[in-house]
Structure formats: C-alpha cells, structure tokens
Amino acid sequence: MPEGTTGPRRTSAEVTGPRRSTGRQAVIALVEGNTGTDERTATPDPSYVHLLRPKILTAVSRASRTGDRRHGWRWTIVGAIGLLFWSFVLFVLTRVLTVFRNTPEIGALLAGKVLGLVFISFFMILLLSNIITALSTFFLAKDLELLVSAPVNWLTLYSAKLTESMLHSSWMVTLMAVPIFAAYGWVYGGGLLFPLVAVATFVPFLIIPAVCGAAIVILLVNAFPARRTKDILSVVAVLTAAGVVLLFRLLRPEKFARPEGLKSLVDFITLLRAPTAPYLPSEWVQRTIMSSLNGRTDWLPLYLLWTTAGAALVIGALLHQKLYTSGFTKAQESTQRWVRGRIVRRTGHFLLKPFGIVRRELVMKELRVFFRDTTQWSQLILLAVLVMVYVFNVKFLPLSGAGITFFLVNTIPFLNLGLAGFVLASIAARFIFPAVSMEGRTLWLLKSSPLPMRALLWSKFWIGTLPLLILAVGIVGVTDALLEVTQFIFLVSIFTITLLTFAVAGLALGLGAVFPQYDTENAAQIPTSFGGLVFMMISAGLVGGVVLLEARPVYGYLAAEAFGGVANPMDMYVGFGLAALLCLVCTFVPLTIAMRRLERLEL
C-alpha cells in the first residue's frame, strides 16, 4: 500500500480497462488520441445539478457508511434521541394547543400569537445562520478555486451555492418545524391538505433569509477594506445578532403569559389581535397557517411570501452578478499579512513566566491560534447570542406580583443552575471539546518533541476552563442579582457552578481526546460528531445529578427559612459533599484517560 494511504487496495486481477502502459509511448498515445474535444467553439455551461453533484455524492457516501455496524448503532442512537425530542415537542405543544382550543374567544388568538413568536425566532435564527454559512460557502469554501477557475456561468454558481448555503443553514429549523406544524394540524384538524399548505408556506420562508444572508455577505465583503474582512464581518455579525435579540426581547413575549397586568379582557384581546411583526415573513406564515386551520384560507400572506421570495431571488442574483467576482478577490486578499503582537507577547511572557518556557509557549500558541481562526469567530457569535438570550430570559421571568412566594423566588434560581450547566456544556462542546482534534495536523510535531502530553493537556485544560469559569460565574452572579436571591442561594450557585465548570471542561477535553476528529479542518463541525453527542449526554447526566444531589439540602434550607425551624446540617454535608465528589471525578477521570490515549497514540 502506498505510503500515507488508508483505503483497501485491490489486486491487479480486479483492475479493468486497458492494459496499463507507462512511459513515453503511453504519453504520446494519450496526447495524440482524438479523445478530447480540442476544437470546441461554444463555451461550456455546466448545469446547476452538476455543481451540486459532489455534495450529493458526498452525502450518499456518508449515508452508505451507516451500513457498517459501528456507524449503524451510532445513527440508531442519534435517531432515537431525535425521535424522543420530536415526541416531546409534539406532546407538550399538543397539550398546550388543546387547552387553547378549549378556551373560547382568546384560544385561537393565543395559538396564532405563539406560532408568530416561534416563527419570528426561526426567522432570526435563519438570517444569522445564513449570514455565517454564506460567508463560508460563497467565499471561503475550498471547492471555490476549482469552480471559479472553470467556465461556470455566474447564475449557475449562485444558484448552486445558494442552495448549499440554504440547506446547511435551514435543516435544523426545518426539523424543529415538523413537530410544530404536526401539533397545529393535529389539534385544529388541518385535514389531509394541511401538510401541503405547510410546505407551500415554509419553502419561501426558508428562501427569503437565505437570499438575504447571501446578499448581506456579498455587500459586506465588498464594502469593507480587503484586509481582515472576515474579522470585521464577524464583529458586524455579533452586532446584528445582538440587535436581533434585543428586537425579540422588546416584543416581550412574557406579557402574554401575565394578562393580569392589563386592565381588561378587551385590552388583552386587542393585544393578541395586533400583529407581532407585520412586515416580516414570520407573520405571513402565521396568518396563512392559522387561516387555513380555521377553514377560511387567506391567500394574501401566501402570495406575499412567494412574491417576496421571488423578488429577493432576482435582486440577490443581480447583486451576485455585479459584485461576486470583486468580492471573491477581496476575500482572498483578506489574509492578514502582518500581525502586531509585541504587546501581547510581552504581556504573555510576563504573566506566564512562572510556568516555564514550554507551558508559556503552549498557552500563547493556543491563544493566538484561537483568535486568528475565523471559524472560531462564528462560534463566538453564537455564544454571544446564547448568553444574551439566557440573561434576558432570566431578567424577564415573571417572578413578582400576586402568588409569587419566597419559596418560588429562590427555587427558580437554584433550578436555573441546571440551565446554566447546559449552557456551559454547549459552550464547552464548541470550544474545549475540539481542542485535541484541532492538533491533528500538528501532532507529528508535538509527538516528536520532548513535550510531555501531560503538559499539553493541562495547558489546554486551563486555557479552556478559565474563560469558561469567568463566564459561568459571571452569568450566574448576574442572574442571581437580577432575581434578588438570598445569600445562601447565591453562595450555593457560585460553589456549584465553579465545580460544574471544572467538571464540564474536564469531560469536554477528555472525551474530545477519546473521540478525536483529527482530519477535520473546521472546528465548528467537531461538536456535532458522535463523540460530541456522547459528551453532551454525559454532561446532561452530570448537571442533572448535581442538581438532584443538592436539591435536598437546598429544600431543607428554604423550608426552614419559609416555615421556621433549622435545616439538618448532615443533609448539607452529604448533599454538597457528594455533588463536589461527582464533579471532581468528572474532572480528573476523563483527563487521566485522555492522557494515556495521547501518550500511546501512534501516528
């Protein structure tokens, strides 16, 4: 087998085709053969389907791997989790919608309002996701060099890349939408034609943000100075995301859950009747779906959806025709040629002096690679959105007014720890889990150097954990302050989230080394691997376990505070002690296993 190959090699008996001829004669035969079409005059124009063919073949190749046993059971697990999720959403939404349906006057209005809010969120997610994906598919993808140097018509390239971008950005929202449409159709008796209405409404709803995302990216790549376009775009995307989140929060969906704040039922009905965002496609989807379910289909919003999608496609294509070539050139020029890192280097050297040269250089390398890798920037955007949504949602929790007790005010922040734990796990999955995999192409260098794997792993651990710890303590501290919790709950929150951070980081790094993806170049793809799923499942178990172990002592304390009496100190020691032990085990055991794996690793 040739050096560096991994695939099976077939025997020469299996080889078909002409007898292998090499040397000068073969060359002459080849170049003299009239097998080419040297005398062509017309410009070739590969079709849209042809451009998508490698992607389709790649998907088929990946899917066919599920035939083997190892991948088979992996997909079974993923499928089972997906099915469980669908069933859960369907079950909860069906229950809620059944209650709405049985509520006269306002039931149908509430159902429509909820659908509108869901689709406004979908629209914003799709827009952001399409911006990030379009940057990659239109300007950074590796196959562009091949496609742009070939005689491919601009419209064909635009259509193929737009389709690719739309599919990548929309599949998750589409999966989410299925149980939602199913629940509405089921509860309101949509009938056999309802799936068709849903599809006819949903397709233009996906096209509009895809075209907008691609158009925004083309404009930005052209507008900003050539150098550092990607970095600037990332910052712009952060601001866009922040704006989108703020807009969503200004709509204050929770006010619909607290109708006692309004003066009368008439006011509430007026609020419900008012459109959420009349000029957004999400409102048109809601109006089409609800009118169809009520038996009086309103065609105007469906017409608006399709005409807007059509107009967007035409404008997007024209923009592409005018600006793509110059944008593509600028995107290639945007590589930063000079990096001014003197101050950072000096500060780093000063701060990391006690750790020695090896650890210092490892830490500095990690930081530099992280902040210069633009694929990590898109992750940071998602992180910023996640944290903002989280803090805003806590801020707007309706935890004051009639019927809200001391018990509830302090229990919810405690349970909030569980949610914060999941946020932590998803952040660790994005930033810490890929850390070992990202060394894949440089492991030859690290393994051939006198660097102990222990030092490599620990420097990665601290680089990942410290920012995570600051973030975790920050969001828990801020949300606790917003909710005005007691000092005890505040201390418990900080203690727990600190231990959880170490444990989640240990699990992420350890499992990332146990399930490495050395061949991947894009860190964004690593968390969605099988190992990433295992990490998320174990993390969920850890977070749930810690909350359960601490529930008893916290309940004891709150009961004592609310109803008088003294909490049992033994409950405290056992509950918090076991939670701490669980966290320490989850920190050190995966790291030890990872260290052994790395030391034994043969390249």
Partner: protein, 252 residues
C-alpha cells in the same frame, strides 16, 4: 496563447505583482521561476481567473479573461499548488465532475479518463474514495483532471511536488509532448533542473517584477556571463548574498 499586459496586483500598499508584461506563444513550455513570495502564484491565479488584477489584462488564446471569463476558462486547465479534491468522491467521480465543468461527458471522457489514470498508475484506485489517497496520488489525480478536457493552455503551480521519480518523468514527457502539438503550458517551479531540461523559455520573477526572460541561451547571454548553471544565474538575479549570509549565520 497567454498574454499579460502591465499585470499588477496590490494587497493594500504591498505590490505582489508589479506591471508584468509577458507573452507565451502556442506550443511552448514556459517556466516561471522565482524565490518564495516573489509573486509566481499570484500571477498564475490571475491567469486562472481566480484573482482579479488591480491593473492590467490577461488574454488566454486571444480572449480577455476579464471580459469573457467563460470562454477564456473553457480553453484553460489550472493545477493549483495546494489543490482541493472532494474527499468523499472517488477518483473517477472527481474526474467526471471536472469534465462536466468543461461541458464534457460520455464514452470519450471515460476513455480519456482511463488512459490518464493508467498513465499515472491510478487505475486500480479509480473507485476508491479520495480520502484514502496519499499526497502524491492526489497530485497525480489533479494533474489528470487538468488534461482531461484537452485545454489549449495549462497553467500549473509547482507540479513536481510530492511526485515519485517515475510520475515526475511521465509528467515531464507529457508536458513536452503536449506542447509539441501546439498547446501551451506555463508552470512555476523551484526545481531548476526541471526548468533547465524541460522548458523552452523561462522567466525569473523577483519582488513582483520580471528580472529576466528568454531561452536558456538568451539568459546566459544577457545576464549570466560566466555563470556555471541556472542555479548560479538564478541566485545572481534573486539573492546573491544568500551564501555569505549563510556563513554569517552559522558563525554567529
């Protein structure tokens, strides 16, 4: 066949290619030499239509690539220095895809594909995924893809990197025979021996400017008086201080 007029490329204030004028007629194998960062790859990428020049024009087979990119690219084959191949496609699928990009398919392409794969010892790997190919095999596959549609002009960046001696020899023969039949090949290379033995004409680029161009004899006559070989001539034009600096570094 290839005509560059005042071709310029600037990255901010840095000029990577500085008003190059160059003409490569049909039937020639043209070597493009220069030290790292001299502007070779940038020039080739502009010829391939991947980079838009800051100023100047590129004509392929008489067609201005900026005015009619489709027609210019249709007669061009480009082999980049760091080629990308779809990992999850087989070698044959990849070649069919590239042929399709140039509007070609059917038994003619199948036959030519088989011939090219056989030439480069890849026939038995045609139905294996590219992800299982070694570096050299990928390089051979990319080279095959550039010859598949029999382009009038081939632009190739560092073709010999990663090739075994046999493949390297085949490639040199292929280049020579291809140009004998009226086609044009422009290749950048660091391997001076290859340039000296294979190329009809060479140009040496340094700091974004053409320092010398012509046949070997013309180069020796104009700037290489007394030079013992292309290496010495190359160093004279691009960095004659290198040897002295080397000694200084070693002695430091």
């Amino acid at each position: 066949m290839i005509q560059l007029k005042a071709l310029t490329k600037k990255y901010g204030t840095f000029t990577a290619v500085d008003a190059i004028n160059l003409e490569v007629p049909g039937g020639q194998l043209f070597g493009f030499l220069g030290p790292n960062g001299a502007g070779k790859t940038t020039t080739l990428r502009m010829i391939a239509g991947i980079l838009r020049p800051t100023a100047g024009t590129v004509h392929i087979n008489g067609i201005d690539i900026a005015r009619d990119p489709g027609a210019a690219k249709a007669v061009l084959g480009y082999i980049p220095d760091r080629p990308f191949i779809y990992e999850k496609l087989t070698g044959a699928e990849f070649l069919r895809f590239v042929a399709g990009l140039y509007g070609q398919d059917g038994p003619v392409i199948e036959r030519r594909m088989t011939e090219l794969l056989a030439l480069f010892d890849l026939l038995e790997w045609r139905d294996e995924l590219v992800e299982s190919y070694s570096h050299g095999m990928r390089q051979k596959l990319i080279i095959s893809s550039a010859f598949l549609h029999k382009p009038k002009v081939i632009v190739v960046d560092e073709p010999m990197v990663g090739l075994d001696p046999k493949a390297s020899r085949i490639l040199k023969d292929l280049f020579r025979e291809y140009t004998k039949r009226g086609h044009t090949i422009m290749m950048s290379t660091h391997t001076l021996e290859v340039a000296e033995t294979v190329c009809d004409r060479v140009a040496i680029i340094h700091g974004g400017r053409i320092r010398a161009a012509g046949t070997m004899d013309e180069l020796y006559a104009s700037v290489g008086a007394g030079a013992k070989g292309l290496e010495e001539l190359f160093l004279r034009l691009t960095g004659e201080n290198a040897a002295r600096e080397l000694v200084e570094v070693l002695d430091a």
